[in-house]
Assembly symmetry: C2
Homo-oligomer: 142 residues x 2
């Protein structure tokens, strides 16, 4: 990882009023270096048990709260997380893109150039957030 990126990581944390700690920097590095969404257990594997499981839970929750990452729903009991690229902030996410889960490689990715379509809901329903998760075969695996 370049120094430039390391600098931007500390900037990122400071912008969210978070203190710069080894765990937070390392987890953000893992997100930046990854080409897909990460689940909780990935961090322990990727970082080689260099930090406690509890700390990972708490760090991910903090990042969610601050709008640094967003979560991607699944049906396999392992929530995925990915960096927010747009201007998300505390309690105000703007990640209105489609997520894709490849059935071949298992990778889950943000399709950053897409937008979720307008959803017509029945009378009486108010939408705050729309998650679109497409599964299929990704361009690497086809």
């Amino acid at each position: 990882m370049s120094n430039k990126t390391k600098a931007s990581i500390t900037d990122m944390l400071r912008a969210s009023n978070l203190s710069i700690t080894d765990t937070r920097v390392k987890i953000l590095e893992l997100f930046i270096d990854s080409n897909g969404a990460l689940e909780h257990s990935s961090f322990e594997k990727l970082a080689g048990h260099s930090f406690d499981r509890v700390t990972v839970y708490r760090t991910l929750q903090t990042f969610l709260d601050k709008g640094i990452i967003h979560s991607i729903p699944t049906t396999d009991t392992s929530i995925r997380y990915a960096l927010c690229k747009s201007d998300c902030s505390e309690h105000d996410h703007h990640d209105h893109h489609i997520h894709f889960k490849c059935e071949e490689c298992g990778n889950t990715i943000c399709l950053d150039d897409t937008t979720v379509p307008e959803i017509q809901l029945p009378k009486g329903y108010a939408a705050h957030n729309i998650d679109v998760v497409v599964s299929g075969v990704c361009k690497e695996c086809k």
Copy 2:
């Protein structure tokens, strides 16, 4: 529950080549009586520990395989399940409707009269399934 429904439950199981057992009938009853999607822990609560946890896991998996229920993705480590209403069959689900999760009452429901919109994916991606989960406030809670 009416006898008519009980009869249709056994029909349902027979149509999927499943033997009629107390657990399967009871779990289907719970689905029919419920006005929203159910998660694993609901069955133990609703049925009052009348069957083993392992049996619930295995029964839900069987129903998924047979196209009797479908799963709804979440970001809260508890997958929801709901009855398939359309003509789903083994390994061939057709539940192309939108799911709604109410942030007030916590209920997750199938919006059966909706259809998931066309999704435009980047070049090289092939879609097999599309999940749309909308969160917000339902018509009961508004």
